[in-house]
């Protein structure tokens, strides 16, 4: 051993000797953890605060595991471990040191139960413990945790952390957390007044909740300040609530647009009353499910790409079904709307029952890729990622379809056939095939709408039924045969719905929208954007 190493070892020895008494200030958390084995929920709550009070940094990961439900005790000796499933066994690691303690059969360990209340207590305790973490992100989430579960015990910890904090954002959050904890403590009125000001600047719904919670126990002079602060936050939020409502309306509108856009082609352009349209959407959703199952089984790494892969698959599957449907059934029924309605209806029932027989009647789980989960705050608004992407997606499809119809040869032929079939035929266009491919295109688009809708709705055989009425409503309201009408119709119905909902409720709101549409159709039978010219009369 060289002298350098000797020195190192020596230093480590001294350091550990110095460190040991530091841990001894609080009790050793190990026996406290082992007591969790036969504690009920109330006892566990006491134990958690005692464990947190030891201040031992090693308890952080153990408490995190407890909140996750990964803490188990061994039946033979009631020793507490963190357990992870490893095949038919569980792999045990020591709760405090993280050292492996070998495997054990599942039957030999029992899970230590945790409920919402305990999770809350653990979150608050962890917040206090990790305020001094060297990792900026951990400190930020610790401050958040303290902010969300105010307790006077955390006040001194926050103040200590605040004194050392250098990062501006974390510092602001800690000041807010300090203000929240201070309100529930027994500090002076002046300090509390300053705290109210800080929370008022923090703003948002959470701030209102925090202030109202403090209202009851507050000094009379503070109560008026709290009232003023709440009123001022509510004033700020009023405009944001309006924006939020418009956003929800656009989001609902984009879902309506997605559901209706395929129908805008099969019904709007071709004039087929296609009751099986909803089932095309459903088939698209099931295609997504199958694609995701294959990816889960064979290439889990690609999961975030599953929707991108599902799009062409859904388009081809539903497009093919649409093609077969047109060639097999609908082409014999052109010009006979009632028969078309009944036949496509029958087809929709057959498709539903077929899916029910193949995949079973229960819902299937279609996962959200990570980029479609969660939300972010935008001022006083909450924007969820899945809704944002669905709006982007529906508009993309809409404009792609517009370009296809207006700028491609296929689109030109399609328009020619729908406007004047005989003349188009004389010009050498094979009208039957144009019909078939137009119908396939409409069905394929319904299929890719299904991919998007699988992210927000059930994937069950009944999926299509819930969209068919809405789709017809949008196409008729917007004006048959006009894609722009479908866009404007969907968005205005969405926004109308969302402005009615808060005041009259969802049930009455839906009824009112239907009544308004009926009245509107009385006045303008051809919808918002009526087609003009000879084609209409034909």
């Amino acid at each position: 051993m060289n002298p350098k190493k000797l020195l190192q070892t020596f230093l480590i020895l001294i350091l550990s000797a110095l460190a040991a008494p530091a841990f001894a200030q609080g009790a050793d958390p190990k026996p406290l953890f082992n007591q969790l084995a036969d504690a009920n929920f109330n006892r566990a709550e006491e134990l958690i605060s005692q464990i947190a009070a030891t201040g031992d940094p090693r308890v952080v990961s153990a408490l995190e595991a407890f909140a996750e439900g990964d803490l188990y005790f061994r039946k033979s000796d009631k020793a507490v471990f963190i357990a992870k499933a490893a095949g038919s066994n569980v792999a045990l690691t020591d709760a405090l040191t993280g050292e492996s303690a070998g495997d054990a059969p599942k039957a030999a360990v029992t899970k230590i139960r945790v409920n919402n209340n305990l999770r809350r207590v653990i979150r608050s305790a962890l917040g206090g413990l990790t305020l001094l973490s060297p990792d900026r992100a951990v400190r930020l989430s610790a401050a958040d945790a303290v902010l969300r579960s105010p307790s006077p015990e955390n006040l001194e910890l926050v103040e200590a952390a605040l004194a050392k904090e250098t990062d501006a954002e974390v510092k602001t959050r800690m000041e807010e957390a300090r203000a929240v904890s201070l309100l529930s403590s027994d500090r002076s009125v002046e300090e509390k007044r300053a705290a109210i000001e800080t929370i008022r600047n923090y703003g948002g719904r959470d701030a209102i909740g925090i202030l109202r919670a403090a209202y009851g126990s507050a000094d009379a002079s503070l109560q008026t300040e709290i009232d003023a602060a709440v009123a001022s936050i509510e004033g700020d939020l009023a405009l944001w609530d309006m924006a939020q409502n418009v956003w929800y309306g656009l989001s609902l509108g984009s879902v309506l647009l997605l559901a209706a856009i395929g129908l805008a082609i099969t019904f709007g352009v071709m004039g087929i009353i296609n009751m099986a349209h909803g089932e095309m959407v459903m088939l698209g959703a099931y295609s997504t499910f199958v694609v995701q199952e294959l990816i889960r089984a064979n290439a889990p790494g690609l999961f975030d790409w599953s929707l991108a892969i599902a799009l062409p698959v859904a388009f081809i599957v539903t497009g093919a079904v649409g093609l077969v449907l047109e060639r097999g059934v609908i082409r014999f029924l052109y010009g006979r709307p009632l028969e078309t309605l009944l036949a496509t209806w029958g087809v929709s029932l057959i498709l539903q029952q077929a899916i029910r027989s193949i995949f079973g009647p229960t819902n299937r789980e279609v996962g959200n890729p990570s980029w479609m989960s969660g939300s972010f705050g935008l001022g006083g608004m909450t924007v969820t990622w899945n809704r944002l992407w669905i709006i982007v997606f529906s508009l993309t499809i809409f404009f792609a379809l517009l370009v296809l119809l207006k700028r491609s040869a296929f689109g030109l032929q399609m328009r020619a056939v729908t406007q004047n079939r005989r003349m188009a035929s004389s010009m050498g266009i094979r009208t039957p095939w144009i019909d078939a491919f137009t119908f396939a295109l409409g069905s394929g688009i319904a299929g890719i709408a299904g991919v998007a809708l699988s992210q927000i709705d059930n994937v069950s055989p009944n999926l299509g039924q819930s969209y068919i009425i809405d789709s017809f409503m949008v196409v008729v309201f917007g004006g048959v045969g006009n894609l722009w009408g479908t866009l404007v119709g969907a968005m205005s119905l969405g926004i109308l719905n969302k402005f009615l909902e808060p005041s009259v409720g969802a049930v009455l709101g839906k009824i009112l929208v239907l009544v308004l549409i009926i009245l509107f159709i009385q006045k303008r039978p051809r919808g918002l954007f009526a087609l003009k010219g000879r084609a209409v009369e034909a």
Partner: protein, 429 residues
């Protein structure tokens, strides 16, 4: 969508009525029982499972030698989620197929549709789903939970353990949520909850855009008091509701949601990781640790040849109802309706949560109430279990039913006896 479902149901029904299939080979010496669950239409999602469970129970009973020395034969019909068709199919089962008893129905509408048929033709129905109460029939046994066996203990748990003071009662707009919420509101107000601390919200069937409502719930929850949501949202609408909750970041630690219609089956279509801690109240969870349950799950997996199939509360209710009927028939020595109605009262059979359930004179049963929290694997973990509770058909918290009781034993034999006036009759007669 409703008219389509109806017409669709009617079309399918027409197609299927001629092909109603029979469960086993017709034998001379068999006792027939009817299975009346929708296998197509909107309710197939829930009811198909119960049909399978009944077939499994019949198969198991036949392995044990059947009933009264005869084999059981299940007659399965499909009422296609169409309420009037339920009555027709029930009539067919009783009059043509001569079944000894019928196990079936899911929605209250379907039960109300068949009730007069069972009373007129004097047969027996076992109804295995939680319901709103306010009913008692001589010919129906309610083995699912009444409101006091599900809703009230759940609210008590939230108030006591989580300290909830503000309540959102959210439901689908039909009879079960409306009645349950009426009872819950009366109960909460009797416990001193102020009217402005209760928000009631109804949504249409299959509602899929929950953005506004989840925001409303968040706003309602920012009044500085602990808030919880009591959900009677039905069936398909739950998946988008929970997805929206997860996406908007409503955590169970902040605003817990306790549901009465969400079980293992409904969670099968969801990623439950963001939902850990939200609650459900039932009388049975698949995760319950008992010998009877372990055996039941094993039989179910073997019967369905799929070890991923989950079990749920209505299956347990069907299990209890079926076994109680078997025991009553053996005691009576006949399948005759009147004799069985007499002998079944007081019959005790094991339930799946490790205890026994007894059929009470009001045609409801005793069972414990379990409160469970959703886990990341789609199962529930029991956080509270009550002692067995007797199902209360007429709620004590509604002014026009608090004086009513049901007792089908002789000599009273009354489903709506008014203890205040001492007369049989009144509401529900």
């Amino acid at each position: 969508m409703n008219f389509k479902a109806k017409l669709g149901g009617a079309l399918l029904a027409a197609a299927l009525s001629t092909t109603a299939f029979h469960g086993a080979f017709a034998q001379e010496d068999t006792i027939k029982i009817g299975v009346l669950h929708s296998l197509s239409g909107t309710m197939a999602i829930s009811e198909t499972t119960l049909k399978d469970a009944m077939l499994m129970l019949v198969e198991e009973q036949n392995k044990k030698g059947g009933v009264l020395g005869k084999k059981l034969e299940a007659v399965v019909v499909d009422p296609a989620s169409d309420w009037p068709l339920f009555a027709e199919k029930a009539r067919q089962l009783i009059s043509q197929d001569k079944v000894a008893a019928v196990f079936g129905c899911w929605t209250s509408s379907s039960r109300k549709s068949v009730l007069p048929v069972f009373e007129e033709l004097n047969s027996i129905l076992f109804y295995p789903v939680q319901y709103e109460g306010e009913e008692s029939s001589r010919n129906i046994f309610y083995t699912g939970a009444a409101p006091n066996q599900q809703a009230i203990p759940a609210v008590d748990y939230l108030a006591e353990t989580e300290g909830v003071e503000r309540w959102v009662l959210a439901g689908t707009d039909y009879v079960y949520p409306q009645t349950t919420n009426k009872i819950l509101k009366a109960y909460l107000m009797s416990k001193g909850v102020a009217e402005e601390d209760i928000m009631i919200n109804y949504t249409p069937f299959g509602h899929s855009d929950w953005q506004t409502i989840v925001t409303d719930i968040k706003n309602f929850g920012s009044a500085g008091k602990k808030t919880a949501v009591v959900s009677t949202i039905n069936g398909d609408a739950n998946v988008p509701f929970y997805k929206e909750l997860a996406n908007q970041g409503v955590k169970a630690e902040d605003i817990p949601v306790v549901a009465f219609s969400v079980g293992e089956e409904e969670l099968a279509g969801l990623d439950t990781a963001p939902l850990v801690g939200h609650l459900a109240a039932w009388n049975y969870f698949q995760s319950v640790e008992s010998e009877a349950n372990a055996q039941f799950i094993e039989q179910w997996h073997a019967f369905t040849k799929n070890d991923k199939r989950v079990t749920n509360d209505p299956m347990e209710a069907a299990y209890i109802g079926f076994n109680a009927w078997v025991k009553a028939v053996e005691a009576a020595g006949t399948t005759d309706t009147d004799a069985v109605l007499d002998s079944i009262i007081g019959v005790s059979v094991p339930n799946l949560s490790g205890g026994t359930s007894t059929v009470m004179p009001n045609h409801h049963i005793t069972k414990p109430v379990l409160i469970g929290e959703i886990q990341a694997d789609g199962q529930f973990e029991v956080v509270q279990e009550t002692p067995p509770v007797v199902g209360d058909e007429w709620s004590d918290y509604l002014p026009d039913s608090k004086d009513l009781i049901a007792d089908w034993r002789k000599p009273m034999e009354c489903g709506n006896f008014n203890v205040a006036t001492g007369k049989c009759g009144g509401k529900g007669s």
